[in-house]
Symmetry: C2
DNA sequence: ATCGAAGTTCGACATTCATCGAATAAGTGT
DNA sequence: ACACTTATTCGATGAATGTCGAACTTCGAT
């Protein structure tokens, strides 16, 4: 059995399993919102390249929260872990919601 | 100076002061979501009449969170406190967001 | 005046949460 | 082999959170 993953397997919830409260909670943190917002404008990005100012271990924690909430997808590539927004799946389950939240974030830059 | 309020004055943030993260956090609790969802189908309702199963003091706490986040408006009437959803103001600040969240809640009744 | 109804405030409590540093693991390149 | 990069896991810590019961306030009714 091939085991490519770094440590624990990367678990992603199925689209139908994505919980609204988990998503809202995940989005209610500024650091995580920055991650999601950054991903909304590009297909993929390595963990260490996000414009956030927290310790690596803290960042790992936020990725885990986002992944388990179903907001992001992560895959291994060589030495890095590439993260993508599950935009289509999110929109299928909660139509228009992520877009509206991201638009709200864009509209209120004073809150940063 | 007339002082009609029960105890402390009911403070409501101005529309421009409504913070996205406060709103998302407020909505990430099932009890508070139930309150918001209930209010979305009627203009006003007294505190004690919501279909939630928590102690009165807990309910008070949730109303405070929702009020300070800018999601609801409360006014005194006689012995009761009437609560309304600030739907129009929310939609003006974050267009489509509340509607999308409420629709998402409606779409996923299995999560209750 | 007294009682009951409606809500709030306060204090306590257990849980969750965001954060960090140190140690660890896996892959790349020399 | 060895060092370096990337990212995670673990343990700790302080703050925030949801919950409750008890005491209190305000108003309406008897």
């Amino acid at each position: 059995m091939a085991r490519t993953s770094r440590r624990a397997a990367l678990t992603h919830p199925e689209p139908e399993e994505i919980d609204l409260f988990d998503v809202l909670h995940a989005l209610s943190d500024p650091t995580r919102m920055t991650i999601v917002h950054t991903l909304s404008t590009e297909p993929e990005r390595a963990c260490g390249t996000f414009p956030v100012d927290v310790a690596p271990s803290t960042l790992s924690h936020h990725f885990k929260v986002l992944r388990e909430a179903g907001l992001i997808h992560q895959r291994e590539e060589a030495n890095r872990r590439l993260t993508a927004l599950r935009a289509a799946e999110l929109d299928a389950r909660f139509p228009g919601m992520l877009a509206a939240v991201l638009a709200a974030y864009d509209r209120t830059p004073e809150a940063r």
